[in-house]
Symmetry: C2
Subunit: 363 residues, 2 copies
Amino acid sequence: MDFRGPKCYPIDFCIYFCYTLCMMKSKKVTFADIAAYTNFSKTTISRYFNNPDSLTLENQQKIADALVALDYKENKVGRILASGKTEFVGILIPNLYMHYYAEMLNQILATYETYGYKFLVFAGHEKKDVERKYIEELLAYNIEGMIVLSPTISSEELAAYNIPIVGIEREDRCICSVNTDNYMGGVQAASLLKKCGCDIFIHINADLSKGVPAYGRIQGFVDICEEYHLLHELIFTDLSSSFEENRTKLFQIVENLEEKYPLKKKGIFMPNDTHANVLLNILIQKYGELPSTYRIVGFDNSPISSEAVIPTSTVGQQIPVIAREAMELLSMQMTERKKRKPTPLAEPIHKIIPPVLICRETT
Amino acid sequence: MDFRGPKCYPIDFCIYFCYTLCMMKSKKVTFADIAAYTNFSKTTISRYFNNPDSLTLENQQKIADALVALDYKENKVGRILASGKTEFVGILIPNLYMHYYAEMLNQILATYETYGYKFLVFAGHEKKDVERKYIEELLAYNIEGMIVLSPTISSEELAAYNIPIVGIEREDRCICSVNTDNYMGGVQAASLLKKCGCDIFIHINADLSKGVPAYGRIQGFVDICEEYHLLHELIFTDLSSSFEENRTKLFQIVENLEEKYPLKKKGIFMPNDTHANVLLNILIQKYGELPSTYRIVGFDNSPISSEAVIPTSTVGQQIPVIAREAMELLSMQMTERKKRKPTPLAEPIHKIIPPVLICRETT
DNA sequence: TTGTAAGCGTTATCAA
DNA sequence: TTGATAACGCTTACAA
């Protein structure tokens, strides 16, 4: 279509124009159409969007009117190609089954209002090759940065992609990251159980490597126990299997504890709220209530902790804060990278977000 | 960079080449580079990717080698611009706080392996204007289709965008959709409670409009009750507020029921598993167990139903099936649309997925 | 303040 | 089987 012509249009043209407009429903209006319609150049139209102040008010108005008349819809693909800026951020998440990841994604998505970045989301289910493939795909779309919640690929390998990356609650030696202060979480949990007057302090967790942030929970818990010379025990067990299997394992652990510490008041710090809830339910089914010889603290402050039969005390992660900080950290790197002479970070930045202890009815 | 030259390269060139390769780490290798390097045209390189059989095996190999030598990374933005195919699908979801939405997104993302579509995800939190803005943004990236879980914008308005759309569990008069067979769900719930020998059949739900699929649950429940002349009662109450408020409301409802039907065996069909769990916990805290005069059925089969103190019976939604069918339906429309002479659907297609009754310990 | 023209990295259409 | 050339829709020097 070509609207080039006199400023005043004869009726024939109007008819043609209407016709064209109808046809256009399927086609698409481009800067070229607007330029022809307004008798400006494509450049001027582009400027209207990117630097409107460089046009006279009158001409701004003309173009604005044309946009409405032609029902222009922007097409960002051309802009990406020409400018290289996609405003895409890739997200690599293990799954959305666990509430922690879902809520984190929720909060990350919410930062769209602040930063305007769009999110391409992939759930890798912790399969290394699959996740590598996803990263390649993301890179092919010229994402400007990536947020990685998945623990699978080493930070070293991630760093080699040479794009802005922020890790959340994962091994982060070579990349920027935002983590909960897990150590403080362990400290808070132990302190709370101590305040409850427990005799024996128990922490159940997987046998984590020191590289992952969550290891801090174990350390913090143990440090407090040792500082105050509290009788304590770490129970390492893999609770990543099915709900039923976990239940069986925890049931056995309870049996063992009751045999080993029959009369003691047991303070148990669980690795997350889901498992805290399983433990709680085992006790409720056994005793009809939470015996006063048991105190329980979970981790995360996920919905299950407040929705449990007995609302459960927990070390709450500040997911909205973590998401915001992660985006801030990423945005900083991405902005830096767009400069003519970018100065990459000398060292990865690691932000630590304090947890919030939430006391409910199990302590 | 320009590799055009003899097929055999002098050492100087090799040095230059290595140098260039190093420089390239930041730049990007394009078809032009590969073409120059291999002495083919850009067209041939393009064909290597899109229609390799049209090249001789020998030449395929040459190009394959060049890709490795130059460390080529595909750039899909150019392809999009030239072909108009983005392979992007937009997802409009209310939130990821509720497990139902999170798991649905999870399953939709998993279809990447089958269809290859990438997902741009927005959480609209049921704000109409915000969601409209998100749709505009999605459209600006030339998404090929959209999956809408959010109930906010009418199907009429959605249909006017004139792109392939599939709605999930929402009003769907003017768009394709995939829904659970809510009516059958209501029937199953009522039948299960009947089998338990209940005297009074109660369904608690919001006062839904007939347009939304979930209305079927009420209808199915009532129809069975009437067919078998069962004493029944619908209790309409808004349970969309905070956990604590919902708890208070349900507590009051329990009090009322016990006053109204003191000796009867009450079969209660809850609108979802979260609320079924709240009800269950209220009863457990009141009686230390689930009294035999109460039978409970939830809806969704979300984790809370199996993780509750007493694993709760529920009408399970087949989320993986729904997600797959939705993508299939969308993919069909998107494929049709890419044809030279597309035949749009005469009528929106509505798929109905049967629920699966899951009997646990509350019935 | 506005316009011209050259890209950006592919694909599509011819023609050879 | 291959190549030249023109899109695709926008941005960005540079010029006017």
